[in-house]
Assembly symmetry: C2
Homo-oligomer: 150 residues x 2
């Protein structure tokens, strides 16, 4: 068995802590404007669609969520008036998720607070070199080939 050496151990632990810290920061700031991170994710990806509309299935796909999860979350957001369900004219099984006025307003408000939050907790604390390093690290960690040789 090949354990982690001290450098590796520190880097791994640092990585774990950072995930928790940054997540807590941005999600706390979003909560202050009345949205959860999943809420924000739904609103912002939906707002990027033509007509602020998408099939539940397509939307779930784009966000990497299960249809089940999005269906439940959409119901909660519908109750809050952030979006609406409409029957899909192109597919009798499907439904369309449509952003409401209220949902768009909520997003607009939240967006600027969120960008500020991301700056405060993340961007502004890092140098341009750090940002470049993060992209490189991400490329390596996401490479689907990289875990072949074992």
């Amino acid at each position: 068995m090949h354990w982690l050496n001290p450098d590796e151990e520190r880097a791994w632990r640092a990585f774990l802590r950072v995930m928790v810290t940054v997540q807590a920061g941005t999600s706390g700031d979003l909560a202050a404007v009345g949205l959860s991170e999943p809420d924000y994710e739904v609103l912002s990806t939906l707002s990027e669609r033509p007509g602020h509309t998408s099939t539940l299935h397509a939307q779930a796909d784009k966000m990497g969520w299960s249809r089940s999860r999005l269906s439940r979350h959409a119901s909660r957001m519908e109750e809050r008036g952030l979006l609406r369900r409409t029957p899909d004219p192109a597919d009798g099984r499907g439904c369309l998720l449509v952003l409401t006025e209220e949902g768009l307003d909520a997003l607009t408000t939240a967006a600027s607070a969120h960008v500020e939050s991301v700056r405060r907790h993340f961007i502004d604390r890092l140098t341009p070199d750090d940002l470049t390093a993060i992209e490189q690290i991400a490329r390596r960690l996401e490479d689907p080939q990289a875990d072949n040789g074992r």
Copy 2:
């Protein structure tokens, strides 16, 4: 309002994706040996205590969990035989969490699989420079002072 420029945007999105990807990788591998990440966290931090024992409150503190969460999780782990509750001789309100033989075995088995998993999903994909960069980035992101001047 000061939006993110393209470099910043890419770095932020990369960071978000990486959190999901690595988390999914290691937690999937842990599941294959019958533990969740929270399970592993409890087992490993508890095993570091003298006598493999700690009060619920101290343990929760050390892990950054609420007592409520740990109480619930400990109950589930107790049902599975991974740990045991004992009245705390030093505090009539409290209880001690004690790792069982079975819990220690589970940890021992899981630990080597987990290290291998961390290597495969994280360490082995990165250069020593990347690891150093991660530590530096973590220091900056965790600095409690850094969000003062705004």
